[in-house]
Symmetry: C2
Subunit: 219 residues, 2 copies
Amino acid sequence: MRHFEQELEQLKGKLLEMSALVEAAVQRSVAAVVQKDRSAADQVFRDEERINALEMEIDEFAINLLATQQPLAADLRLVVAALKINTDLERMGDLSVTIAERAISLLSEPVIKPMMDIRHMSALVESMVRKSLDAFVANDADMARSVLASDDAVDSLRTASYHELISYMEKDPQNIPQALDLIGITRSLERIADHSTNIAEDVLFLVKGIDVRHHSEVR
Amino acid sequence: MRHFEQELEQLKGKLLEMSALVEAAVQRSVAAVVQKDRSAADQVFRDEERINALEMEIDEFAINLLATQQPLAADLRLVVAALKINTDLERMGDLSVTIAERAISLLSEPVIKPMMDIRHMSALVESMVRKSLDAFVANDADMARSVLASDDAVDSLRTASYHELISYMEKDPQNIPQALDLIGITRSLERIADHSTNIAEDVLFLVKGIDVRHHSEVR
């Protein structure tokens, strides 16, 4: 294996490490909400530092790779995609922190509604995070497409939950603060899904050489 | 001027064109809200296509620049920063569309509260967008720092408006849908401010060579 290829593998490995951390953060932030698990939220806050450090490390690594190897064509695009994916992953980490903060504010309140929709939505979102990175590492266009397909399902779940929460608020104004927290949580999950979609679009660009970001080819 | 420097200037010019479009979109989306101006919202929807096309064009231009010029050190970092800034600008365009959509949903409703806080917040956010790009083009660390300082002011305005809107909802459940739209609008403005902050951080990284993203040096 050429030195350059080794470095590319290292870069992919670091992104996988980052995505494993982010996936765990998403999972824990949702556990903090649905199981009222304060220690899960605290773990999310602690892991944020590691995620932030890794973001900077990956940026440095990719920039050094560009400087020392001066890759061309597909290799160059792969490194640029890695830089973009890195940014998306870090923002997903931030969104897990936002969810964990909402979880803390919900800890002391009696639950106004079953959390099944949040469980369901988060299971879908976690699988999107995992698949988008697997698609990147394996250069797998089909897997990237399956991520794009899930995004619509997440949006539908979020819209249904939004309307349900509005009706809880209208029924009893005492429900308003909690309903707003739950709306915030589903919105953060939706945004995590959007970031996975960005990653999947970058993968399709890499594999197929077409820019699907603002097209309808795969939707 | 070397050919490479000409190309860098072209890249900066394209980003300025993009940011002018985004700034106008933010401004129009807010006008659609506070002046109930449907045509302003429609213009935001129309301009989204141009912003999306420009995002892809700038990415292509930057990647070609990396491939053909193989820049090193500061020049390489500048091109990488341009790629990141491009992504942030496009997301700001998306957020203007979100605001314009909320504006449409508010068109037919009587106004429940004065819009002064949204005007105030959006004036601040628009200046952040402009300053963050000016800082990039002029390599101006002080201007970048002033963007970071404004971010806290935007967060405070958003928090104050959030609590006010909760009290409107609690007072009369009929206010809930409109208050949720207004909360969504201020949240989108806050996220546009966050993207300007990302850009300012990239500029500080370029100018000072230090990564302030997850530090407190400038806050």
